[in-house]
Symmetry: C2
Subunit: 352 residues, 2 copies
DNA sequence: CTGAAAGCGCTTACAG
DNA sequence: CTGAAAGCGCTTACAG
C-alpha cells in the first residue's frame, strides 16, 4: 500500500478510540463498531473509509471496555499450586486449550500451597469477573467462595475437592491407585512397606494413605504406624523419613511414594543408598514423571493423567457457562499402574 | 456475627453494584467507593452502614469496570511456546512473582511454536490492554507489534530477540554456552562431535550452532556438515539424526544436544545403543533438566537459568511501566557448564 | 464528611 | 445503510 501513511501524531499513553476513528472517517460511532465487528450493513465504500482510518490511527479495539458492556470477560481463571511444578504443566496447557476452543483467555497463578494466597488470588479473579474459575485447592475451607458461586461464578475444583462447600470436582482415583500400587508391591513379596505422603490436610495425601492401608489390611499385613509418614514434600523432610524407615529396627523393603515430588527425593535417597552397597529397596510412586523410564531401575508408577484432569474440568466449566443447570458432581478419573522395574524388585531373602 | 443475614434475593447473573449498595445503605455512590477503596473521610457510622450493605448483598467490586476508568489493567501478558514444557515452568512462575509484587495478575498462553498463533495471542493481549507484554517468540517477524509498541505497550522479548523490530530482549548466552560445551568435549579428547539442534528459524538454534562451529574451528577441527543437524525437536527426527551420526561412515564419538528436548531423546537413543553393547558416546546438552544427575551416566549440561530470564524480563517491563524512557536493550545472562559424567566420557581408542 | 455529574470505550436498543 | 442516545460499573474532578 504505497499511499498508506503512518499516524501523524503517535500519541503515547492515550490510544485512539472508536470515536477518533469515527471522526477521521467522517462516520458515526456505530458504523465503526459495525466494521470492527464484521457486522453486515455497511457499504464497501464506507467500510473502506473506516478501515483506512483504523490503519492510519493504529486503532485496536479495547476489549476491556467491550467486556464491561457485554457482561462476559471471555476469560478463565486458574489457581494452582505452583506454575513451576512440572506436574501442572500439562494440566495448565489442557485448560488453556479448552478455554481457547471456547474463545477465552487464561489468567492463572500459584497459591504456593498457602491457603491465604489461594483465597486472595481466587477472589481477585472473581473481582476481575472471569467467566469461570478452576481451583486446585491448597486450603481446606472454601466457604469464602460461596457468595461468588451463589452469584453465578462457575467454579470447578481439580485434583482435590473443595472444603466445606459443595462444588464440582474432577480428580484422580487416589484411593484406588494407591491401593493398586501397594498391592503390586505386596504381590512381589513385600511385607514391610513404607508410605511417604504430603501434608495430612491435603486430600490426595489422606486418600492415598487410605489406599495404602486398605492394601495392607487386605493382605492381612499390619500397617505399622512407623511406616507411615505424612508431611512436607521438601527434600529434607522426605529424605529424613525414608532414611528413618530404612534404618529403623523394623526396616521396610519397599516404599510407596505419595506424589511426584516425594518420588524424586526417594529415588535420590535409594540411589545414594545403593551406591554405598546397601540392598535394593523396591519403589512405586504416585504420578508419572519424565525420564522415569530411563532411571536404573526404571521407576514403577501409578500414573494419573494431568492433562485429562484439566480438560475434563474445563469442559465441565463451559457446560455450566452455556447455561446447563447441573448439580455439583464428583468426576473421578482412573489411574494406571506402569510397571518399569523399581516396583518389581523382590525383597532380600530373610537372613539371620 | 450472629445477626448477619444472607442476601434476601441472591440474584443470579446480575451481581450487585455499588449503586445497589448505595441504595441499600442510603448513601451516595461516591461514599460506597470511598469505603470499598479505604479512602479517608467517612464517619465510622456511615462506614458501618455501607459495610453491612456490602455483606448483605454479597457485593464484590467489579475490577473490570475499575480498570476501564483507571486506564491500567494491572495485568501482564505472557506468550510462551508451551505451558506444558517444563523448561518454561520456572520462567512462568518467575514472571508471576514479579507481576504479583507489582500488584498485577498474569494472563498467559502457548504459541504452540506457531507464528500465527503467537501473533493472534499477542494481539489479543494487546486488545485486552495488558499493561505489559512478555513474548517468547516463535515467529521471526514481529512487525505486527510495532503499532502497539509505538502506542505505548511495554514489551519485552525473552529467550530470543524479536524479528525485524527493535525491542528489549533478555536471553542466555547461547553462543558462549554452546562453545564452552563443545570445547569441553574437545578437551576430553573428542574430534568427531555431532550437533543436533532446533529449527534454523529459531534464533537460539543458530546461535548454538555458531558456538559449536567456533569451538570446532578454535581447535582446528573440521566441522563436517554431516555432523550438523537442525530441524524439528520431535523424538522421531532427533532419533533419526543421532542414529545417522553414530552409524555413518565417519561416526561421531560425542554429541552436543541443542536443547532440553533434544537432550532427552539423545539420552534415550544412547541408552538403547549402550544396552545393545555399542560403545559409549559422550553427551553434553544445552539446558539443565530435572533428574539429569540421576541418569547413568549423569548428564553434563550447559545450564541456563529460566527463572532468572523471567525475573529479569519482568523487572525490565515494570521499569518501563513506571515511566523510565529506556532505549531497547539486549540483556544477556551467562550459562554454566555442569559436569556430571556424560560429557567426560573419553572417545574409544582408535582401532584398526 | 458527602454526593451529583461526567466520563473511561465500548455495545445495545432504537429510530430514521 | 447509518447514527444518536443510553448504559455497562466503576473513578475523577468538583461542589457543597
Amino acid at each position: 500500500m504505497p499511499h498508506s501513511r503512518r499516524s501523524p501524531e503517535p500519541r503515547y499513553g492515550r490510544r485512539p478510540t472508536m470515536k477518533d476513528v469515527a471522526a477521521r472517517a467522517g462516520v458515526g460511532l456505530k458504523t465503526v463498531s459495525r466494521v470492527v465487528n464484521d457486522e453486515p450493513g455497511v457499504t464497501p465504500d464506507t467500510e473502506k473509509r473506516v478501515q483506512d482510518a483504523i490503519e492510519e490511527l493504529g486503532f485496536r479495539r479495547n476489549d476491556s471496555a467491550r467486556v464491561l458492556r457485554k457482561g462476559r470477560t471471555a476469560t478463565v481463571g486458574l489457581v494452582l499450586e505452583d506454575l513451576a511444578d512440572p506436574f501442572y504443566g500439562p494440566l495448565n496447557r489442557a485448560v488453556e486449550e479448552v478455554a481457547r476452543a471456547n474463545g477465552a483467555l487464561l489468567i492463572n497463578g500459584s497459591s504456593a500451597e498457602d491457603p491465604d494466597r489461594e483465597r486472595e488470588l481466587a477472589l481477585a479473579l472473581c473481582a476481575r469477573r472471569v467467566d469461570g474459575l478452576i481451583v486446585i485447592p491448597s486450603g481446606d475451607d472454601h466457604r469464602y467462595l460461596e457468595p461468588e458461586i451463589l452469584a453465578g461464578m462457575a467454579t470447578v475444583f481439580v485434583d482435590r475437592p473443595a472444603g466445606r462447600i459443595d462444588a464440582d470436582v474432577v480428580l484422580s482415583d487416589s484411593f484406588g491407585g494407591a491401593r493398586a500400587g501397594v498391592a503390586h508391591l505386596i504381590a512381589h513379596g513385600h511385607r514391610r512397606i513404607g508410605f511417604i505422603g504430603d501434608h495430612r490436610r491435603i486430600h490426595t495425601a489422606t486418600e492415598r494413605l487410605r489406599g495404602y492401608r486398605a492394601a495392607m489390611a487386605g493382605a492381612g499385613l499390619a500397617a505399622d504406624g512407623a511406616w507411615e509418614s505424612l508431611g512436607s514434600t521438601s527434600p529434607e523432610r522426605v529424605a529424613a523419613a525414608v532414611t528413618a524407615m530404612l534404618t529403623g529396627p523394623d526396616p521396610v523393603t519397599a516404599v510407596f511414594a505419595g506424589n511426584n515430588r516425594v518420588t524424586v527425593t526417594v529415588v535420590r535417597v535409594l540411589a545414594a543408598a545403593a551406591a554405598s552397597g546397601a540392598r535394593t529397596v523396591a519403589l512405586v510412586g504416585f504420578d508419572d514423571f519424565e525420564l522415569a523410564d530411563l532411571l536404573s531401575p526404571a521407576v514403577t508408577v501409578v500414573a494419573q493423567d494431568p492433562a485429562a484432569l484439566g480438560r475434563v474440568a474445563t469442559e465441565r466449566l463451559f457446560q455450566r457457562l452455556s447455561g446447563a443447570d447441573l448439580p455439583p458432581a464428583r468426576i473421578e478419573l482412573p489411574t494406571r499402574l506402569i510397571a518399569r522395574g523399581s516396583g518389581e524388585i523382590r525383597p532380600a531373602p530373610v537372613t539371620g
